[in-house]
Structures are given as C-alpha cells and as structure tokens.
Amino acid sequence: MSIKTTAMTAKLKFKEKGGDIKMKKSRVVNSLKIQFPAKSANEAFSRALISSFAAQLDPTVEELCDIKTAVSEAVTNCIVHAYDDSVPEKKKIIKMHCFYDENNLLSVKITDNGRGIEDVKKAMEPLYTTGGEDRSGMGFPIMQSFTDELKVKSVLYKGTTVTLKKYIGKTNYDI
C-alpha cells in the first residue's frame, strides 16, 4: 500500500511537470493481442481476458477490479458508440493489445475503426453522453479514476484508441 502511495505521488509530480508515465524506458515483459467482434456478449469476455493476463502481475483484488472495470467501460464504448447499423457486421471489430513492463506497468490499448469522437475533451466530461437514457456518461470518468493514466486518441470516421495504464502489484519505481 505504501509503495503504491509513493508511486502515485511520483506519478502526480511527474504529471505536474507535464509528463506522461514514461519515467524510465523499460522492457516489455509480456504481451497479448486479440481481436473480436463488437458484440455485447464479448464485454464479459474482455474482462475475463484482462483478469487472466493481469494475474501474472500478482495484483490485489482491488487492482484487478479496477482494471477490469476500466476495460469493460472502454470495450462497451466500442460496442455501444463506435459502429452504427450501416457498418457491415464483418467490420465491427475491437482490437485489444495488453502488455506490461519490468516496472509492473500494465497497459491496455483498445481500438475500434468506428465513427470516432468529434470532441474528445467534451466526451470525457462526467455525465456527458450521446447514448440516451440508459447510458450514464460515466464511462470515461470511471476509466480515469480507476487507472493511473488514460489516453484517448480519436480520428473522425476512422476510429478511436483508448489506452489505459495501471501499476499492478508490488512495484519498483526507479525514477
């Protein structure tokens, strides 16, 4: 726990200086790439997948829940928002790229080739949704608060990539 606090402080200091979490170039230890159709049944699948992958880092229950929830939000967004009905089923694809490095920094990149987001900053605001009354507009805020870093890259009519980064388990931060 204390290690984590140190890490968070270090991270915050780093962020204040305007940096991303890239304190030290570190080697990727393991990675996984997978692609699946943007079907809602795959939401649970994506959670199972990230759970098994992150398990290699010996996460706490809390950390595992956090990363599972963040991934679930990102994958759900691809399913709910990225593709409209005019897109042929075959092209409704989600790509997930997971990897972690020597510092136990887990990264998950979730990519769709959908409509893209016109104003990412606005989309990330709490309660902002284009999804009607079943959506809460809390997906991005949850991703943000449950990870150490959230990056959203979106190109209109091309697609969106969400990158989630989180330190897992015991960490050794050499900054």
Binding site: E43, S72, T76
Partner: protein
C-alpha cells in the same frame, strides 16, 4: 444472471446477482420493469449485495428504475450495497440521491415467507 424478488404489502425487494454490464443490463431492466408493472409496489428495494461486477451500465439501470418509481409516485432504495458497487455509485453521486439501507436477510426471508408472489427468475 438470476433475480429473486419478494413482494408484500406494496413493498418489493429484488435481489440481483451476477454481473451487471451493458450486455446483461437490458434483461435485468426488463425483468424488474415487468415486476413493477405486475406488482405495482409503492416501495422498490434493489438488493445489490450479491453483485459480482458492475460498471457504469449499472448506473443507468439503477437511476432508470429510480426515475420509474418516482414517476409512479413510489420510492426506491438500495440495500446491502457492497464496497465495490458503492464505489461506482459514488462516482456519479447516486449514493446521495438514492438511499442505501441495511436489511437483515434472514428477517426479510421470514417477513416474506408465506408470500405466493415470490419468484425466482432466470434472466
């Protein structure tokens, strides 16, 4: 996903279990709404204690049922919400809008024991 519901004296308790995400939330929503129409409760209690996972799709589900109950002049509470689920609810300030009450499960079971409206629904 399984839902147990208890209904008596205008009070209905729905115990949800399993995972609430965008995929599962639709059938849960339909299940609860069907029971609301059937039983017309004055008070709806959603028991989220056995929820193994919930993301922001659960917020829409909970707030939607809250709105529905209020529209019919009723009330809604959450009960025995676990830490994890509470964390999600708090993110959207739902904990401030919908009261979370503690219920003794044993008490509820006894209270509703001889009620023919009880149902176990696989949804």
């Amino acid at each position: 996903m399984e839902m147990t519901s208890l209904n008596k004296d205008g009070k209905m308790v729905c115990c949800l279990s399993g995972e609430i995400d965008h995929h599962s939330s639709r059938s849960i929503r339909d299940g609860i709404d069907r029971l609301i129409i059937q039983n017309r409760p004055k008070v709806l209690v959603l028991d989220l204690s056995s929820i193994a996972f919930m993301d922001s799709s659960g917020l829409g589900l909970v707030l939607g049922r809250y709105r529905k109950m209020r529209e019919c002049g009723g009330e809604m509470f959450l009960c025995n919400t676990n830490e994890r689920t509470l964390k999600i609810l708090k993110m959207a300030g739902v904990d401030k809008i919908i009261k979370n009450i503690d219920c003794d499960k044993e008490f509820m079971r006894n209270e509703y024991k001889d009620n023919s409206n009880d149902s176990q629904t696989q949804i």
